[in-house]
């Protein structure tokens, strides 16, 4: 294989994507008795190697004596072409073995628009796409990650879904697999045993009848499966496995730095945000543990930047102490500390000032919407004053360029709210004109992505804005964001619509997806590959409109295609949040002591905790 591979590598762009052998990568002896797993990331190496989840699972599996884990990423178009030409099967990076030789293939589903790559990778590996056609000789195909909270569009292709945080449950999966293999069990028995584990969903054990409105009319499940699958999650983040010897890529990847995860979950409760719902409750890591992990990471990787990652890093209770300790310890070694997700307020700018001794040119904030009315609808607890204070502080401190993230197509949005985006961006610019020292370099970049309603959020019932409407809104904004110092970026609305179809679709999306792949769709998230016409063709083939699921309205009393997946946040709470959204009423952050009643603490008998101990909240009954 190596020899064949070397010939190919001379002819493709960025061959370093495919060579493996990176520092801290693990290539174990290939012998009987070990469970052989391959972590499959359905996007480019540069994207996959920026994903902390991969590094965590890789460590957990390779720490076991009875298992090994290697990696594979989606080959870029040129590489796929060469591989197909030469009959080279999809291979792992560590031992360069065919992926089909492994016992278990584990995909991570980070983004709906990588689903065609999942199918393409199975095909390149020479593995049947459909679970029902894969017998004892085929690897078990499992999938996890945030998108598995609505697993249905991929149901026919995946044997086992891991719902929720995977670093503990993966051990139960391997234990069960080892035990069943020892007994000589077949695939069906293995699946039945796996289905008993909390957080495991075996889609072939469930059959659905859908109504005309594509909601669930009837669900039948095998006796070995439970009618509801609860997510798995980590109770104790301080003692959870964390990779202090992560793989250091040879070639530049998107996040080419130490990723020190400081907490799980987020208490803000933005109503559009799936991560804010499915990763509850908030769990902050202990400060001393973080400092120890940072020390090990610095010496084991040689990276020159420590990024404090989480959903909202300035919310970490002891963030000031953490950043100042890291800066004190590592500044003299020329190791930077970075805060990637900043809240839009002056406190966050203060933090950024402290860590970024070397001023980078730009700072990013996410007001998400242009008017207070709209920010109340989405429960974004930031007001205009917060944002303007933040940018004023940033301009005064020497930053010359501000990036602002907005969403368009949000529920209840009017042209007045879009107008507000233009007005707010201009206000930010004028703060710069009065505060910044280098006025000539001032730049305010506004990016507008199209809102996609996601399962397990208060907006899960909402239809997505239509393609025509999204285009009109973009054109409207283009007019409003003209002028010196203003830059406007937007996303492909066609892509957002398909993301909406795959996000809120049921099993009827599976054949459409397969058809789109057959027509040649892959790397849909990449401009140079995305082909909307092919997707349309796939929908039309099944007599469906390309926005069949995206623009669908669901009702509160409908059984939604993903209702058998329980993320811990109750449907009642989501519905109440939806109603409050329509009335423009905010919901308090549970960090402030008032429990909003989302239900997570009751169902899992847990309390949110910070680096200073348990949060003092009186847990309310779920609404």
């Amino acid at each position: 294989m190596i020899n064949e591979l070397e010939k190919v590598l001379n002819k493709v762009e960025k061959p370093a994507r495919y060579i493996g052998g990176e520092w801290n990568s693990v290539c174990k002896n290939w012998n009987e008795g070990k469970v052989k797993m391959v972590f499959a990331f359905p996007d480019l190496y540069e994207i996959g190697m920026s994903h902390l989840g991969l590094q965590i699972i890789y460590k957990v599996v390779n720490d076991r004596e009875d298992a090994l884990m290697e990696r594979v990423f989606a080959p870029w178009i040129d590489m796929e072409h060469k591989m197909r030409e030469l009959g080279l099967p999809l291979f792992s990076l560590e031992s360069h073995r065919p992926v089909a030789d492994f016992d278990i293939i584990g995909f991570t589903l980070q983004y709906e628009m990588s689903y065609t790559n999942v199918l393409n990778m199975l095909n390149l590996a020479g593995i049947s796409l459909h679970s029902e056609n894969r017998g004892a000789g085929s690897p078990l195909v499992i999938a996890g990650g945030p998108c598995s909270f609505n697993p249905e569009p991929l149901a026919p292709f995946i044997d086992v879904f891991v719902i929720g945080e995977g670093e503990e449950v993966i051990n139960s999966v391997i234990d069960t697999y080892v035990e069943k293999k020892k007994n000589g069990s077949g695939k069906k028995e293995i699946l039945s045993a796996l289905a008993c584990i909390e957080g495991i969903y075996v889609p072939s054990f469930y059959r659905f009848t859908y109504s005309e409105s594509e909601t669930v009319d009837r669900m039948d499940c095998d006796s070995s499966a439970s009618s509801e699958v609860r997510k798995s999650f980590i109770r104790d983040v301080d003692n959870a496995a964390f990779p202090t010897r992560p793989i250091v890529p040879h070639t530049e990847v998107v996040h080419d730095r130490i990723m020190l995860e400081i907490m799980r979950g987020c208490t803000r409760g933005c109503r559009f945000c799936q991560a804010g719902m499915i990763y509850r409750p908030v769990r902050e890591k202990n400060l001393e543990i973080l400092l120890q992990q940072a020390k090990e990471l610095v010496s084991s990787t040689g990276w020159d930047e420590i990024s404090l990652t989480s959903l909202s890093s300035s919310d970490y209770t002891r963030i000031k102490e953490l950043t100042s300790q890291l800066v004190n310890r590592y500044e003299s070694d020329m190791i930077n500390t970075a805060l990637p997700s900043l809240r839009a307020d002056a406190f966050s700018v203060e933090l950024a000032k402290e860590v970024q001794k070397v001023r980078r040119s730009s700072l990013t904030f996410a007001p998400e919407a242009g008017t207070q009315r709209m920010r109340d609808i989405i429960n974004k607890g930031v007001n205009e004053e917060n944002l303007l204070d933040a940018v004023k502080a940033a301009f005064t401190a020497g930053w010359t360029s501000i990036k602002l993230y907005y969403m368009i197509g949000l529920p209840g949005e009017t042209d007045n709210d879009l107008e507000g985006i233009g007005i707010l961006s201009k206000k930010v610019l004028s703060e710069g004109r009065s505060a910044a020292s280098k006025k000539g370099k001032l730049k305010v970049t506004s990016s507008a992505s199209s809102f996609v309603p996601k399962p397990h959020t208060p907006f899960q019932w909402e239809p997505q804005a239509s393609l025509e409407e999204l285009k009109r809104k973009q054109d409207f904004l283009k007019q409003k964001l003209r002028g010196k110092g203003l830059v406007f970026n937007w996303h492909d609305p066609e892509l957002s619509i398909l993301e909406g179809d795959l996000a809120r679709g049921n099993r009827k999306m599976a054949p459409v997806l397969e058809k789109a792949w057959l027509l040649g769709c892959r790397f849909d998230g990449w401009d140079e590959c995305f082909d909307f016409q092919k997707w349309c063709q796939a929908f039309y083939y099944f007599d469906m409109e390309p926005s069949y699921f995206a623009c669908r309205v669901y009702r509160y009393d409908d059984i939604l295609p993903w209702d058998h997946i329980n993320c811990g946040v109750s449907k009642k709470f989501l519905a109440s949040e939806h109603k409050k959204a329509l009335e423009g009423i905010n919901t308090a952050d549970c960090r402030e002591g008032k429990c909003p009643g989302c239900g997570i603490c009751r169902i899992f008998k847990i309390k949110p905790y910070t680096a200073e101990g348990d949060l003092h909240v009186q847990v309310q009954d779920s609404l």
């Binding site: 001379n10 370093a16 520092w23 530049e252 040689g302 020159d304 020329m334 070397v358």
Partner: protein, 226 residues
Amino acid sequence: MYRYRILYKKTDLLRFISHLDLLNTVQRAARRAGLQMVFSEGFNPHPKITFAAPLPVGVEGYKEYLEVELNEQNIPGELVSKLNNNAPRGLEFLKAKEVDKKAGPLMAEVGYADYCVQTEISPGLDSSQLNCFLQNFKDRDEILIQRKTKKGTREKNIRPGVITLEGNVSKQSIIIDMQLRTGSQENIRPDEVINILAKDYLPVGVKNLKIMRTAVYDNNKKTLLT
């Protein structure tokens, strides 16, 4: 401040990483090894590591040179083993020597390099025929190629930069050894020579080449680290 010149090799699959990737890889290995590197001044300080001559992606290098500036004095042998303990597979440090910190840039010393090109066997071609073809190439005074530059394509005579050119046909492959002008004044790439050979002189394929740089010399054809 102490300046070290280090001999290393970049082989196997690691030959597929770019020059920029190699720079990062060496920096990270040095950090893991706990070396106290000297950093440049300015807004974006970076460690002072310089290379003799960049290797094209896909080309193995067996006698490559770099220099690093350190704040602490190191015993050369220990420096080499510290780096080797922290280097990924395919990158190996062979020898180090402290050099005068006031010496000129390493890159400016480079003058020549030896390359060995392996290609697939072509039926019916033996060593004497091969060398006959190579002689035809050498007999010319001018061999023009088109080079892409930032300002468009430019014509370049590569013949004066090709110092030696010898071939050998073995059972498994054709091997062509060449010495080429290398460095900032004059630089000929081995693939430029091979492409001309394949086009005008030789019945060999250029699809599955393996190229090795076996040595890098100064302007007097002397080794850069004694």
